[in-house]
Symmetry: C2
Subunit: 356 residues, 2 copies
DNA sequence: CTGTTAGCGCCTTCAG
DNA sequence: CTGAAGGCGCTAACAG
């Protein structure tokens, strides 16, 4: 059947390497190209005979017709493509954000492409390539680790861009999680278990999410009537090595904490390793809870208590907001995702403090 | 300076949402658009006065000119964009492949975009969208987990596509690691430590990489004069849960193995958890080595011995091969990456077998 | 309600 | 060596 149709084609104009054109389909179905365009796009302003419509659709299918995105993009000045820039695919935290963004994009008929950009210079050039080059209609930038000054320069005055998980002053809207609340939930969990000496593995100072988590930590301690002692706050990069080092510093303190709230699950994995390496029993001598949940948490020893955050929803919502912007509607400059609330997933790494 | 130039512009034709056009630059520099095109593309067939060239370049910079990718793609029928389809960004194994592909693409002046496609249907539609739609010049498909039959149907007769880490019969070239050798190295490591009862956490039957790793396992055992006992080969999905379950089955055997070679580091993490859960000491009672290295390996308890594979190089080489194909050159249908050899990274999870 | 026409922004023959 | 003109494949106004 398929072969038959192809054999009958008047113009064998299908090009190699790319799909067949509208023209080929039109020749095949013996109608005008614009008719094909209208039918294939379900243009409401067309009422062609069902037989003709069938013929066109069949011809398109037989030829494996896929509209050329460049031509369409050029004509429409829209590509129905969205870009998502992430610093690294390796970070487990981005998994859910990506899936959420992907899901929302697909639901709206958009294609999502990812670009990995570890440093700011790459974000800059990716941004230029993608937005200014007309490859995408809008851009999501998920880069909690960017320093404040650079993206502001990069993004100054640029439209159709949304920053995830990071507040930026200026014209680029951002959408963030309620990190303060999430961290507070974690501390409350530790307090409820009876801990009073609670430390924080905080993230790097220049990272906005780290700042928010730390302030959530401090607030929760104050709310519980507990002191915020300076030595109990250790900065660590958001990776295993950072967590490992910071945990060692914590363990060297004269008066050790009995619990640690880590502002990154990856750092917590390193911190756990530091405990094992120094023979500190978790949760016997020390409880640990980590910000963000991931599959691996329940396979660590001990299984790691975590603070689940609505990352999928963050990706979804950011995408929806971006589509609003693309459609010319205004959105708030900073939005905080409140709906699915952060919640503690208690596992084996948190327990009451030792009798001492 | 920049403001001054803009103020002097004869045609303020910069459009919002996208970059300024060639026309705007031409107006600004008072030359013909085609001259701008030639200068900006370093067309060798142009020898314009240095002053003019300077003026054009300055105007382009002042206007922040970025060529429109759609228009260029339409005219050239090439986009200088490559696509990489991965099943999930979550899998740590893809990190290095992505970085390698990204690096090789950038070196060749190409942009790499990622598309996440968990299932085959999505691979199919992504493929259509991207290649047939003219969004990319070529496509890398990294999907070791696809079943054989489906991609073959999907990809039949399609050009400019390369499969990573999976052999496909037919016209789509593929490039794979030497999984057999890698797994053999792991087994040799265990044999050298004195193990004779060695089990394999094998991957799913329908996964090509799993098959290759298993056959490397069997060959290495035979080469060492050790029997391949059936119960010692347990199938597990390539995730923590799969490794956990399979390890439990292994531990229930009457005659337990003293060592396990896992064909996936993620499954090994689950297997380690199963050992902890059942009180089996690693490496005291059981040694474990895992296929593929990752940062987390040294932060597990015990730190996990791994088999390092040249994944970055795989991504690089696949990209270079793809560019060859795009340039119309022929490449072998299946290539096996041999150069940086697989090597064992011994850590704490492997030790001599118990005296017993 | 369908065919015709004029671009979208760029590159690339052609003339000049 | 530089300006002019046509076309890449598609859509969207415009006629008929």
């Amino acid at each position: 059947m398929l072969d038959h149709v192809v054999a009958n084609a008047k113009r064998p104009s299908a090009r190699v390497g790319q799909g067949s054109s509208l023209l080929a389909v039109a020749g095949e179905a013996r109608v005008h190209p614009s008719t094909v365009s209208r039918i294939l796009r379900d243009d409401p302003a067309v009422r062609v005979r069902p037989a003709t419509r069938q013929r066109v659709i069949a011809a398109a299918a037989a030829l494996g017709y896929v509209p050329n995105a460049n031509a369409r993009g050029l004509a429409l000045r829209r590509t129905t493509t969205l870009g998502l820039i992430i610093p690294s695919t390796a970070n487990i935290v981005y998994e859910q954000i990506i899936k959420g963004a992907e899901s929302a994009a697909r639901a709206a008929g958009y294609v999502l492409v990812l670009a990995e950009s570890a440093d700011v210079g790459q974000v800059d050039s990716a941004h230029r390539e993608l937005i200014l080059g007309g490859r995408v209609d809008g851009l999501l930038i998920a880069s909690g680790t960017l320093r404040e000054s650079l993206p502001r320069a990069v993004l100054n005055g640029v439209n159709n861009t949304i920053i995830l998980n990071r507040r930026i002053r200026g014209s680029v809207p951002s959408i963030i999680e309620d990190d303060e609340r999430g961290m507070a939930r974690g501390v409350e969990h530790l307090v409820a278990l009876g801990h009073t000496r609670i430390a924080c593995l905080a993230g790097p100072e220049e990272v906005d999410t780290a700042t928010r988590r730390l302030s959530g930590f401090k607030e929760a301690l104050r709310a519980a009537g507990l002191p915020v002692s300076r030595g109990y706050i250790q900065r660590a990069s958001f990776d295993e090595a950072g967590g490992y080092e910071a945990m060692l510093r914590l363990l060297q303190l004269e008066r050790r904490p009995t619990a640690v709230a880590a502002s990154s699950i990856v750092a917590a994995i390193g911190a756990l390793a530091a405990c094992h390496a120094t023979g500190v029993s978790v949760p016997g001598e020390l409880s640990m809870i980590a910000f963000h949940d991931a599959t691996i948490a329940q396979y660590l020893t001990p299984s790691l208590s975590t603070i689940w955050m609505p990352l999928f929803e963050l990706g979804e919502m950011a995408t929806r907001q971006l589509l609003e912007v693309i459609d010319g509607r205004d959105i708030p400059s900073v939005q905080r995702l409140q709906d699915p609330e952060p919640r503690v997933i208690p596992r084996a790494s948190t327990a009451p403090p030792p009798a001492d």
